[in-house]
Amino acid sequence: MINISNVTLSIGDKIVLENISWEIVPATFNCIVGPNGAGKTTLLKLLTGEIPSANGEVLFDNKTLTAYKAAKLAQKRAVVSQFHDTQFPFKCEEIIEMSFEALSTADYKNASQHKHIASEKMRIGSLLPRRFDRLSGGEQQRVMCARALTQLGIANHAYQGKLLLLDEPTSSMDIQHQLAFFTLLKELCSKGLTVVTVLHDLDHVYQYADQVILLMNGKKIDAGNAKKTLRQENIKKLYGINSSFVSLASGNEHLLVHN
């Protein structure tokens, strides 16, 4: 689905990403992991097309991102970025309806249904008539996620070839919403959606991700299957902390970090 090959990106004198290669397979849940300042958000911005790649290539369905028209791209991928405050008194439903413009003609027919289902899934039905700028950070994140889901045409269940890019989408959500959201993403992935997200909580990565890329100081440390890549020595290398794997009675294995 996405092919990043030998991408190096410097801003000013500082090299932000150095010789990164990564392949993202369709219908998988991918996580970008690394300490602060590792270049996670920059890598995600390369994928959204916000930052063009100067060296190396970012191919989306075998075409460079710059070859896409914004409107065409918007039909295939949705983004939830890290910051979204506004000085204007938009209502939540207006924020979500902004994504209607991005829908393809086929999806546009059920526009309000996409909105309806997306808000149900994100549990924001009661927030819809309220002002976006007066919500809490977690509520705002849920609204933004609902917008992204609407943009992906959630009611049509046609996720093949569609991509969802998220930058710490759950950082302010409470824990129940976080888990519900990841479960939802997992379900959509199984139906063909490709998800790429920046995440900080290693246990969430361990639980939900199929593939991960570990970044540190702009360099790729490791990449591959999440369960195999999140090894104790890799975590030690990235964060300088210890980790253990704990099995619950249910049989689920969890990743626990500690000093």
Binding site: E93, E94, E97, S112, P129
Partner: protein, 326 residues
Amino acid sequence: MKNNILQPAFMKTIESSASLLLTVVFIFFSVSSFGESKVKHFPCAINGNSDSKQRLISVGGANTEILYALGLGECIAAIDTSSTYPQQTKQKPKVGYMRALSAEPILAIKPTLIVIDEGAGPPETILQLNRFQIPMLSLAATRDFVGLHAAINAIGEQTNRLEQATQLNQKIIQDVSLLNRYLEKNPSGKDDSSPNQPPRIAFLMNLEAREALLAGIHTAANSMIQLAGGENAVNHFSGYKTVTAEALAKLNPDIIITTHRAVESVNTAPSNTHKDIVRSIAALPALKLTQAARDQRIYIFDTQYLLGFGPRSAEAALALAKMIQP
């Protein structure tokens, strides 16, 4: 588009539209109360003359002075803000600044004649007035007596005051000959050492502590200085320019002339005696370094009297000449 967007907005609109309408209605009535009759009629019955129905609008200080000098003060229905002489002008309705006139209020006065300075505007307003065929006498601001006589004659002709116009011209001619006689008797030499060198004079339109607005050539001040037998200290620029204390010191005029209004803004004199005022002006950093300040040769005039080239100008020039060459 979507009904659910429309609904709450619609409800809110009903609430707010009421207040909006109220505002409109309020303004409606407040305006209607003064919309009509600010324009008073100025009955103009002079000696039971047949032209008692004249309603004049005068734009330009000199024009107003001429109209008053011709005895038409009563017939003036409105003037502009530059018309400040004589005292009676204070009571007249004002049509605003001469370069920012508006057509409709002028039309509402139903003037029989507008005597207007050629520089008045904006041009769109003048065009509109023309389209309404309002009789208009447009006079270029003059800086010599030939032009002044012509203006007086033109106004006299248009207002049926030819006789008075002739008398006024006569008086001005007398004043001019008085001026000339005085200049002959007192040839202007700076001092005995250079008898043919007239004193160098600077006219300051505006005064501040450290700078002043100085009159160059092609100004009314320049003309008056020459009429009074002086020489403008400035000959290197035209119009009015702001100059610093240093530039004034370098110019070093022998005499400084300024206006009452300019003095008002900087005067710190303990009393209102002429001497005190002059002393306080001379002490300003802007003027201190000039010969004029050292000699206390600073003269203060009324702006309109000195610069508004009108019926009093010969008199003003004589007054100035007497100051230059006592």
